[in-house]
């Protein structure tokens, strides 16, 4: 069958259209997945479609850290083994698994659900910033790690939070910014290089 031709079934056509809107999936992969599902056992397809639906129907935000969870509070917040005096502030829920994957952080998280963007009209009230401040007031927290993205919006958010949190007598740290592993010095921009020089460590 010709890769580019329009399928004769509307159901097939609809699924290809839907899949090709997903990140990383082009029209050809969408077509391949669709025909795979067409021939797969009905039970397997049903499990997949239930799984897709349930991420919309069964998930909610953790009432403490605003990470995505199925329960009132998430597994990390409920874990007694973790350091409850440390909070790492991230922009998006998907930043949490990225940091967890490193296994080098054992504290808690706080998900802002975005970053301050003056030109888009996104301010502190549109993010979980008041919730963070409340959390800091009512718990014994000794360090807040700002892990917002190293770009203008993430930096503005970090600077804003630091000005609010430092006066509370809590240690505020920022993820080190510098040269990403595997890059070459000659391609680095001035901002990255400056951060890398300032954040240099004894070798």
């Amino acid at each position: 069958m010709d890769q580019g031709s329009i399928p004769t079934s509307e159901a097939v056509y609809k699924l290809i259209q839907g899949l090709s809107k997903l990140p990383g999936i082009g029209p050809k992969s969408a077509q391949r997945v669709t025909y795979y599902l067409l021939h797969a056992p009905e039970e397997q397809v049903k499990q997949l479609s239930d799984a897709i639906l349930s991420i919309k129907q069964k998930t909610k935000l953790c009432s403490v850290c605003f990470n995505v969870t199925d329960t009132e509070t998430c597994l990390i917040c409920r874990n007694e083994q973790r350091e409850h005096g440390k909070i790492c502030v991230v922009e998006q829920p998907q930043d949490v698994p990225a940091l967890e994957h490193t296994t080098s952080y054992h504290g808690l998280y706080h998900v802002l659900h975005g970053a301050i963007s003056p030109t888009e009209g996104i301010g502190p009230d549109d993010l979980k910033i008041n919730e963070l401040l409340e959390r800091l007031k009512s718990n014994k927290i000794d360090e807040v790690i700002l892990a917002t993205n190293p770009n203008i919006e993430g930096e503005a958010t970090a600077m804003y939070l630091s000005k609010l949190i430092s006066p509370m007598g809590i240690k505020v740290t920022r993820l080190a910014m510098g040269l990403p592993f595997g890059t070459e010095l000659e391609y680095a921009d001035d901002v990255t290089l400056t951060h890398a020089i300032e954040g240099r460590q004894e070798f």
């Binding site: 990383g24 301010g123 930096e155 804003y160 000005k163 595997g182 921009d189 901002v191």
Partner: protein, 260 residues
């Protein structure tokens, strides 16, 4: 087809919007091509060689390849990263305000070299000069000059008489000042003190070096900010989002102390 497939230009990055998983659509302000949009591939990945050179508020040399819809950035090298602007919340916010206005008022693909120079010569003093408010006011007045909305500060726009040293009013809808007499017949006017009007005239007619010698007290500063925000909002027919943010920051104590 006289357009070559590849070209290069200096550019200041004034806006960025996420595209797909790892790309961004950037809005660039250039000396001779005016405002252009281009795709920067892969710049949201940590190992991107281009990301740092294409961050907002960066002045770079940019190499582009023409595309069917949008052109693609193929290379870039920082000319000035305006590091000071990026390490202080208030300065970052001022600079974003400046670039938002350029983005709103500039047309795509229309060369406006004086506006490019104005943008560059605003970001530089924002980094180093003391009175950031004065830098912003100088920018606004001269931006309006460059994009065809030069406000009338010498004569009354209704009766055309020269303004007397009294409390005259600015009228956004009329694009200039009204004498006390004509003010009575207009709604939505903004009364200006004699000194505030003098400052506006000076900012409109002098270069930055001369203007930067002005010392503004806080009440004049506030008057000027009010009248400019009013006029800009009127011309754009909407709020200037980053101006709202600047006001929010001003209301919160301790937000303006610069990191030195």
């Amino acid at each position: 087809m006289s357009n070559p497939r590849n070209y290069q230009t200096e550019a200041i990055i004034i806006k960025g919007v996420k595209l797909g998983e790892a790309d961004r659509i950037l809005t660039l302000y250039t000396p001779h091509l005016g405002k252009i949009q281009a795709v920067a591939k892969g710049v949201r990945r940590p190992r991107s060689k281009m990301a740092g050179h294409l961050e907002l508020l960066t002045y770079s040399q940019v190499w582009l390849a023409r595309g069917r819809n949008l052109d693609t950035i193929t290379g870039c090298q920082t000319i000035n990263s305006f590091l000071q602007l990026k390490s202080d919340l208030w300065l970052t916010s001022c600079a974003l305000y400046v670039t938002e206005l350029v983005n709103q008022f500039a047309a795509e693909h229309i060369e406006n070299y004086p506006l490019f120079q104005l943008l560059l010569k605003t970001l530089e003093p924002l980094c180093k000069d003391k009175d950031k408010e004065l830098v912003l006011r100088y920018f606004e007045i001269n931006l309006l000059n460059q994009v065809g909305y030069r406000p009338q500060f010498k004569h009354c726009v209704a009766c055309n008489k020269a303004l007397q040293p009294a409390t005259n009013s600015f009228c956004s809808a009329a694009g200039g000042m009204l004498c006390p007499n004509c003010t009575q017949h207009e709604f939505l006017t903004y009364p200006l003190s004699v000194n505030a009007l003098k400052v506006l005239r000076l900012l409109q007619d002098s270069d930055y070096a001369t203007s930067s010698r002005l010392k503004l007290n806080s009440s004049i500063s506030k008057e000027l900010e009010g009248v400019m925000y009013d006029y800009l909002r009127y011309l754009l027919e909407r709020e200037v989002k980053s101006a709202t943010w600047l006001l929010t920051l001003k209301e919160q104590k301790g937000m303006l102390v610069p990191n030195k």
